[in-house]
């Protein structure tokens, strides 16, 4: 059974998501237990797959074949849908599994029963299935299908509170943008299909030439995926979406964005690998810088705590783009600092997931306790909610990259790599960090410091479980980053940096 682990990580949440309304008719507790079991199973599968891949190399699983390794049809052409899990995919799977483990128990308590909890949980589990599918797949059209699954599920989650007027507006705008990005991606796919006749990632990587059609497809891929990732000129959906979704589900939306970013790296590094010019890398780097700075400035003006943290999340995407973009620029020469920057960018995905996750959960706890997120009305919560205040402070410091926390570990790698490429990049990145620290210090002061405020509602213990788990993760990753960088991040970075030949050999060579 363990030979089927990659597909089980995708199929079990699919089955589980559809079964939630049926089980809810039996009893509410049965449904809650079922959701927790499904999420636990997915996290276990993700961990198992990662351990296996890190030990034994790329794991290929072909659906519907006579045995799971039968990649090529007679004739030497890959025709079936396959899952190709290398170190980078396994890394994204771990992030998804980890955050789902933390988000779902929180959500089970956070969403009140009368708000349509069935549907919210179904959408959340389906979103998890889509995210795992996007991480593990080895076929470009399969990636598109899971991309659209996550878009639809994410917009359903964003627009959930239909009795307010803000949530449907955010959901409509987000759905418009996600749908457009999916269609650009499909158009690029169509160009590549017309050119090469197959959509398997490894097959395309072996055949790609750099002709005009390929470059057109690359432009469309960039357009579509940069819209989904909330890069700078088209980041408008992210603050609305992250701000309006119920707090626990925002973690899944953040993972969704990160896995879309992983999709961009997969297309740029593995499919296009050698046929790229440095201009594409510079585009990614400059958009990353723009995202960082614009989001940090917009965060200054926010009065809603949820939107403020959302702008912080958008800004961190800029760091990931900067780090891996430096690697993209130097892909032809492959100097050392390119790998360092890529390790920083990829490690930052894990750190950002934990940090932003903790921030959003704190915002959710504050909203549960006080019923509002407006900074002008909050204040003095540090006395009534000491645990939440401490977690918020920890996460804000980690976000800004203060030493011994995990944000510092990844940001120092990004600063070092980007500074070696061009000093301006490193300088702007550091400045954006300082700006974000100022923003979050103001938010912390506005919400938690000040004269003591009445907190009459007691937070459920499940909240503290999730908050504590993330806080412990932040501290551990900050105090011993070397272990995680060596074991998890470096194989993932190397898989993108010079693992293209191994990827092709795993699928086409046998």
């Amino acid at each position: 059974m363990s030979v089927h682990a990659p597909i089980l990580a995708i199929a079990v949440p699919l089955l589980g998501g559809f079964a939630v309304p049926l089980l809810a008719r039996i009893h509410k507790k049965v449904r809650d237990l079922w959701v927790l079991l499904v999420v636990l199973f997915v996290a276990a599968c993700a961990g198992y797959v990662a351990a296996h891949v890190l030990e034994q190399g790329i794991w290929v699983y072909v659906l519907g074949a006579r045995n799971p390794q039968e990649t090529l049809a007679p004739g030497g052409f890959p025709i079936r849908i396959m899952l190709t899990v290398d170190a980078m995919s396994a890394f994204m799977g771990i992030i998804a599994g980890l955050l789902a483990l933390v988000a779902f128990p929180f959500a089970l308590k956070y969403i009140p029963e009368e708000e349509g909890k069935n549907l919210s949980l179904t959408l959340g589990v389906l979103l998890l299935a889509g995210i795992m599918g996007m991480s593990y797949t080895g076929d470009l059209f399969n990636f598109f299908v899971f991309l659209e699954v996550t878009s639809i599920a994410a917009c359903g989650i964003i627009g959930f509170r239909t009795w307010t007027s803000r949530a449907p507006e955010a959901a409509f705008k987000t759905m418009l943008l996600f749908s457009l990005s999916g269609l650009f991606f499909l158009l690029a796919l169509a160009f590549l299909y017309g050119e090469y006749g197959a959509l398997n990632l490894a097959y395309l990587a072996a055949q790609i030439r750099g002709s005009v059609v390929d470059r057109l497809a690359l432009a469309l891929f960039l357009a579509g995926l940069l819209m989904k990732v909330a890069a700078a000129p088209v980041h408008f959906w992210a603050p609305d979406a992250y701000g309006e979704a119920p707090a626990a589900k925002t973690l899944l939306l953040v993972v969704n964005t990160q896995v879309s970013l992983y999709g961009l790296w997969r297309v740029l590094f593995t499919v296009y690998g050698g046929a790229l010019s440095a201009g594409v890398g510079w585009l990614v780097v400059s958009l990353g810088l723009l995202t960082m700075v614009v989001a940090a400035f917009m965060a200054l003006a926010q009065t809603d705590l949820g939107r403020l943290v959302a702008y912080g999340a958008v800004s961190q995407i800029g760091y990931m783009m900067l780090g891996v973009g430096v690697g993209l620029v130097t892909l032809s020469g492959r100097p050392d600092y390119g790998l360092v920057a890529m390790k920083g960018g990829i490690f930052h995905m894990l750190n950002d997931a934990l940090t932003i996750g903790l921030l959003f959960l704190c915002v959710g706890a504050v909203e549960w306790a006080k019923g509002t997120r407006d900074l002008r009305e909050l204040g003095g919560l540090g006395h009534g909610l000491p645990g939440v205040a401490l977690c918020f402070l920890l996460a804000a410091l980690a976000l800004a990259g203060i030493p011994p926390l995990n944000g510092f570990a990844s940001k120092i790698l990004i600063y070092e790599g980007s500074f070696r490429l061009s000093p301006i990049l490193g300088a702007v990145a550091v400045l954006a960090s300082i700006l974000l620290l100022a923003v979050f210090a103001r938010a912390f002061q506005g919400a938690f410091l000040g004269p003591k405020a009445e907190v009459r509602v007691k937070l459920p213990w499940v909240f503290f479980l999730s908050l504590g788990a993330l806080a412990v993760g932040i501290l551990v990753l900050g105090l011993v980053p070397g272990f995680f960088v060596e074991e998890l991040v470096t194989p993932a970075a190397k898989a993108l940096w010079h693992g293209r030949a191994l990827y092709l050999a795993a699928v086409l060579g046998g």
């Binding site: 199929a11 089955l15 309304p21 519907g64 045995n67």
Partner: protein, 149 residues
């Protein structure tokens, strides 16, 4: 709606449901399959909603939801059926059990009893699409108008 529309609807509803079922059933032989057949059948139900008003079907929302979930679970479960070999492996094709006749190669008059798990998956998707699209049209008709709930 007028008497003419209602009478024609009463005549057309069974025809559209049967035609949708036919398209679903023969998905592995002729153009069609789960989504197409489900959409045809759902158009019949949409005609009922337009002709008789949404309140006639309003009590059936729970049924639609249950049918939709059942279709989804059945589709995923059929994928799990092949887990002895690989996920989505077609274990019933060519094996002599339900839908198990071997398929002749090349142009042939189609045999319905072939293709293993494919017709079963077509049915699962057909139910899901029928329930889903009908529920969408029903909810738009019930809640989308000027009148409040």
């Amino acid at each position: 709606m007028t008497v003419v529309v209602r009478t024609i609807t009463r005549l057309l509803l069974p025809i559209s449901l049967v035609f949708g079922g036919y398209v679903v059933m023969h998905g592995h032989l002729t153009p069609g399959g789960g989504f197409q057949g489900g959409a045809v059948a759902a158009s019949g139900l949409a005609l009922v909603i337009v002709a008789f008003g949404a309140e006639r079907l309003a009590g059936k929302k729970g049924l639609f939801s249950a049918l939709e979930s059942f279709g989804g679970v059945a589709f995923a479960a059929l994928g799990f059926l092949g887990l002895g070999v690989t996920f989505f492996a077609n274990v019933l094709a060519g094996s002599g059990k339900l839908f198990g006749h071997p398929v002749p190669y090349g142009p042939n008059p189609g045999d319905l009893n072939t293709a293993g798990t494919l017709p079963l998956m077509n049915w699962a998707v057909g139910f899901k699409v029928l329930a889903g699209l009908s529920a969408v049209v029903l909810l738009f008709a019930l809640f989308g108008g000027e009148s409040d709930r």
